[in-house]
């Protein structure tokens, strides 16, 4: 039977680097998938993933096993991505402008807010997926992170809060707003297509 992540961490801490190699192989696909969705330049993805694993190795003695190793690792990946973004801060990014975030997040629960405008019939079409992909890449990084962790990594609100080091209500708000922005962006894109057609 394959050793669990905790056992591999224990072996690594005893000085067995190969055990960490197994951990890398086990999590590298998920880390690359996450970084690819957070970093806009595909050329940077491998660098960031590599950096994140090296940071994780250095921080391994602080891993207490309270959370799953994957969740703990994602937090390091997230921080590595943020650091990389700061390094590239001078590069102008075409991010969607977002209103200042409200601290009071009560009453917002995912997509379920009654105030949310309901989707237009246009959002039902299958070809909407391509448009969504394009809009996703233009979303601010926090929103992309929440969407990726929820829809791709299937992390719960609680786990996402742990990874991104933010309150759970903020995560719900980010998810809600990310969807609202995607809908708006899609609408804008469709209007522009109709205009230019």
């Amino acid at each position: 039977m394959a050793a669990g992540d905790s056992e591999l961490v224990r072996q690594t801490l005893k000085g067995d680097k190969r055990a960490f190699g197994v951990l890398i192989q086990r999590h590298q696909d998920a880390v690359f998938a996450l970084v690819s969705r957070l970093i806009r330049n595909p050329g940077d993805v491998q660098d960031v993933a590599q950096d994140a694993f090296i940071r994780a190795y250095r921080a391994l003695p602080t891993f207490r096993g309270d959370a799953q190793f994957g969740t703990w690792l994602y937090r390091i990946v997230w921080n590595t991505c943020l650091d990389r973004r700061e390094q590239h801060a001078r590069v102008q990014e075409r991010e969607v402008q977002i209103a200042p975030e409200e601290e009071d997040c009560n009453g917002i629960d995912g997509f379920a807010d009654e105030e949310t405008p309901l989707p237009d019939a246009a959002f039902e079409a299958d070809d909407v997926r391509q448009g969504l992909e394009a809009c996703l890449s233009r979303l601010p990084v926090h929103y992309r992170a929440v969407l990726t962790l929820y829809y791709f990594e299937q992390k719960s609100y609680e786990e996402i809060a742990m990874v991104l080091d933010q309150p759970m209500n903020t995560i719900k708000v980010h998810l809600f707003r990310a969807k609202s922005h995607l809908k708006k962006a899609l609408l804008a894109e469709r209007s522009s297509e109709e205009w230019t057609a």
Binding site: D29, F32, P42, I54, D120, F123, Y151
Partner: protein, 165 residues
């Protein structure tokens, strides 16, 4: 269930979280009746698919080796010092002793098994019998000695585990 509940279920289903058969059935029934929620569910489905199918870089075959080659020397786990063990042990015993003494003196009403003769549980009886058999030694003293023994055992065990590492 309201439309809000069904939309949350649709969101969870689109994200890949399994629903109970009962929830799945109710959701399907509702989506067949409510076109607005059906549109939300469709959007959720498309969004989840777009996130999953977002083009991602795949790691090269030798990625793990590349990382391993860059790792520093094995990470050192800081071993707790003997002094630290004794300090923690002393604090633990003092705290446990004080807590036992306070409990015995006050026997607060929210601990039913310490409040009356009839309500004493087996644990309380054991402590009481031990106290009777020890004659002159007071219960607080006995509790401290008892807890000190537990503490010493725990310390010995942790020292053994640390030795293994």
């Amino acid at each position: 269930m309201t439309c809000t509940d069904f939309r949350l279920l649709a969101e969870r289903r689109a994200a890949g979280f399994p629903l109970k058969a009962r929830q799945e059935k109710a959701l399907e029934r509702h989506l067949a009746e409510c076109s607005t929620c059906a549109a939300v569910a469709r959007f959720e489905h498309n969004l989840a698919a777009a996130v999953r199918e977002f083009p991602a870089v795949t790691p090269p075959a030798d990625f793990a080796d590349m990382v391993l080659a860059q790792l520093p020397d094995p990470v050192a786990v800081p071993e707790p010092s003997l002094r630290e063990y004794w300090w923690n042990l002393t604090l633990g015993v003092l705290a446990a002793g004080a807590a036992s003494w306070a409990l015995w003196q006050k026997a607060p009403s929210w601990i039913p098994w310490l409040t009356g003769e009839k309500e004493r549980t087996q644990i309380a009886d054991i402590l009481f019998n031990a106290y009777m058999s020890m004659g002159e030694v007071s219960l607080p003293t006995m509790s401290v000695v008892f807890l000190a023994l537990i503490g010493l055992t725990a310390w010995g065990a942790s020292a053994l585990v640390a030795g293994e590492r």
